[in-house]
């Protein structure tokens, strides 16, 4: 069983802060939740909404059904009323608009008036949270505690919010006290995190020893920059807003060359500007992690929406041939360790690693188990004094293709020369055909090493499936729900989900695809880019594609229907 809340209104109505407080308090009370945002590329007006789904165990995706609708404006009601079952309730402000007479599910709460009485209009959302709590049969204590923590440094703000919260609670209590049954709380009493994708990535970067982020703000990656900038006064990390993405990637390369773990983050359009720098990272064998948070293109596309349209772009972006790895964000749980792996691979293989995220992952909060920081690796893979030949040669040819690496300034008398031109072992420009061949082969040998480090895709569901769903990245959760739904209705289903994408690990795929009757690549793009990659790397083809490219994430129902319609 589950409970689904949708809060909608215009941009600038301050929904986000209040949904964070509500979400966090539910997690503290022991509920499993997921919270997603659907927002427009504007600062004021339009229609933005957030969905919060509460279920036993942490839900993997949100659904269309709405049990409680908080309509901060009239438009919200009309846009979403088709998804309200008879048992639903609609919280609205009767001073703002009226519901149609036929609508029996309304809970009128004078959000703005109560907020003003408590000390300011800005607290209208806090009043709405009070109303939500009484509908769910929950007390206000946990939220009160959070408000106190949140506004600890702002004199009187917490008290005013608590007053607004209680007034909202009382105003709705006469209409509907505990008229919803909450899903059961989690059995274990341990603390859970309530965190979104960008926060996971920012925290993972910092916990991976990343000391430098240079980036140009671009939705949906900006949250990573915000997170790290927020930490830069307390932790040893420099966050620099670059003048453009070209500067961003080149700055990060300079930081990496000089000895610290460096990161840049962007979306597809910014990555397009970075690809010459990516090629430089490949040529100079400089470790670098680039997070590409995808949104729909081409060009500016849909800036605040989601898509998985840049897989082929990040595998091929950059002129010339050089080794790289591409990893992706699946769930919050996995992404924390996966980005650490990206830093680790970049250092040990001295080459760029691209980490693919997308808007859906970036902006989705879930309640999850705390992370285990002892699982994170921090191995800079630098050559110690006495472990490299003198005079030092940055590009000494080795069997693995990986040369002993030192950083400038740390070894008296030794200098480190790197070059974007083809170069010899010392790093000096060369046009020798022999050296060129040797260096090209040296670089590409590293791709073999990287291939050995790729994790096979995650297998979930029936061990002898009739139907196999194949996906990658942020669709993990929604595909799990689809697998469960199909299995429950009698179709033996499994899913194979890729986190590490390039070089593509193929063993498990080859074993399974031979056995299974029907297989589908499920992708948030218009052409099936993973399906093409699979065909290229294995010669194998799935029997179908399930694609969505309207800028919105999949709903479990959509995947289930596509599979069922094919039978």
């Amino acid at each position: 069983m589950d409970l689904n809340i949708l809060v909608g209104g215009a941009a600038g109505q301050g929904m986000e802060t209040v949904m964070n407080i509500l979400g966090k308090s539910l997690v503290r009370e022991g509920f499993g939740i997921i919270y997603t945002k659907d927002y427009m590329s504007r600062v004021r007006g339009g229609h933005n909404f957030s969905r919060l789904r509460i279920a036993s165990g942490t839900p993997w995706s949100t659904v269309e059904k709405i049990d409680i609708l908080v309509a901060l404006n009239e438009e919200t009601y009309y846009l979403h009323r088709d998804h309200l079952p008879p048992s639903a309730r609609v919280i609205y402000d009767p001073q703002e608009f009226s519901l149609p007479e036929s609508e029996q599910r309304g809970i009128p709460v004078e959000l703005k008036k109560i907020a003003e009485e408590s000390g300011g209009r800005v607290m209208a959302n806090t009043v709405a949270v009070g109303a939500l709590l009484v509908l769910m049969g929950l007390g206000t204590a946990t939220v009160e505690g959070l408000l106190q923590e949140m506004f600890a440094t702002k004199e009187g703000v917490a008290e005013k919010n608590v007053s607004a919260l209680k007034s909202g609670y009382n105003a709705a209590a006469s209409f509907c006290n505990a008229c919803f049954t909450m899903p059961p709380k989690s059995n274990d009493s341990g603390r859970k995190l309530f965190i979104d994708g960008n926060q996971v990535l920012g925290m993972s970067a910092l916990a991976s020893g990343c000391r430098f982020l240079s980036a140009y703000p671009m939705t949906p990656s900006t949250g990573i920059m915000n997170y790290l900038a927020g930490k830069s006064t307390d932790y040893p990390v420099v966050v620099e807003q670059a003048e453009d993405e070209i500067a961003a990637i080149n700055m990060a390369l300079g930081a990496s060359y000089t000895g610290i773990r460096a990161l840049t983050c962007t979306s597809g359009g910014g990555f397009a500007l970075m690809v010459e720098g990516l090629s430089l990272a490949g040529m100079t064998e400089t470790p670098l992690v680039v997070i590409v948070a995808m949104r729909p293109g081409p060009a500016t596309g849909l800036p605040t929406r989601t898509e998985q349209g840049d897989l082929e772009f990040v595998i091929h972006g950059g002129h010339g041939e050089f080794p790289r790895a591409v990893l992706s964000a699946t769930s919050q749980e996995d992404a924390f360790y996966r980005l650490n792996k990206a830093f680790d691979l970049a250092d040990r293989h001295q080459t760029p690693v691209i980490f693919l995220s997308d808007q859906s992952f970036a902006d989705t909060h879930r309640s999850i188990e705390p992370f285990d920081f002892s699982r994170l690796r921090y191995d800079r893979a630098l050559a110690e004094e006495g472990k490299f030949e003198k005079p030092y040669k940055r590009y000494r040819v080795t069997d693995s293709g990986i040369s002993p690496r030192i950083i400038p300034g740390e070894h008296t008398g030794e200098v480190v020369l790197i070059d974007s031109d083809e170069h010899d072992e010392k790093g000096n420009i060369t046009e020798s055909d022999r050296v060129r061949r040797m260096m090209a082969e040296k670089r590409m040998r590293k791709l073999e090493g990287l291939a050995g480090e790729m994790d096979e895709p995650d297998l979930y569901g029936d061990s002898h499936p009739e139907v196999l769903l194949i996906g990658w990245g942020s669709t993990y959760g929604v595909m799990r729900e689809a697998v469960d739904a199909l299995s429950n209705s009698g179709t033996k289903t499994a899913m194979l989900h890729f986190s590490d994408l390039y070089p593509l690990p193929t063993q498990r795929l080859q074993d399974l695809l031979k056995e299974v009757g029907k297989s589908y690549c499920v992708e948030n793009n218009a052409t099936g880019q993973l399906a093409r990659l699979i065909r290229r790397e294995t010669g194998l083809q799935t029997s179908g594609l399930i694609l969505k490219y309207d800028g919105r994430p999949f709903l479990p129902r959509e995947i289930v229907e596509e599979v069922e319609n094919d039978f």
């Binding site: 995190l193 700055m251 000089t258 000895g259 920081f373």
Partner: protein, 283 residues
Amino acid sequence: MIFKAEDYMVGETAWCPGCGNFAIREALAEALGELRLPSHEVVIFSGIGQAAKIPHYLKVNGFNGLHGRALPPAVGSRAANKDLQVIVESGDGDSYGEGGNHFIHNIRRNPDIAHFVHDNQVYGLTKGQASPTSEPGMKTGVQVSGVSMPALNPLSLALTMGAGFVARCFSVEKEHLKETMKQAINFPGYALIDILQPCVSFNKVNTFGWYKKRIYFPEIEDSQDWIQAMEYSLQWGDKIPLGIFYNNPRLTFESSQKALAGEPLCRRPFDPQEVAALQDEFY
């Protein structure tokens, strides 16, 4: 350690005989020696072009990056290890054309970098096209009717963007160049020297003789007088002044970064378990 100029000079150059780059390289080697800077504590960032080959000809750390992109990696390196002496060296096309955006914004950012621009007012490596500093009217294989745009004035631009150290030198006046380089390297913040140099192969307008007739060394008593500096920066034609027009430090990139106080970032040890408390705010 011996700090002789010849100790810094390595490699076989690929420049044309008579190129101004030779004197600039020698002046820099002498400046490094006189400042007693050990090879491994200096790093030169360059882009692409004839001037940008200099990391191959000096025994210091070198990052020979992309065309127009010498400044950004130099900024990154300042964050990683503020104990290194960072020099950016590239041509006028690289610094003012392809890299124009980085030039503007790094003056504002003010990292502790000495930027030496080999300004021969023409593209050398691609064989003779106009550069951003080419004189209007100069004819080339591409600008067949002559350059139609006014020349970019790097010194005036730098001054208006808030540069703290702005100087003009001439490659042939090597002693003056060396002394100015020393001051630029020691200057706390972004320091620009626009180094005029003849291009014997492609620039038939601004030749050695053309410069020799025009250059002079004004007595600059107050190098913190911004208006006067602007006036010198704008002088071009019959008389071309050389010298440090402006020398006035301000808040640097490094001093505005809290993380950069103390030991250089690249030397600080780290263990992920030390920062496990990061997740507490998400409970």
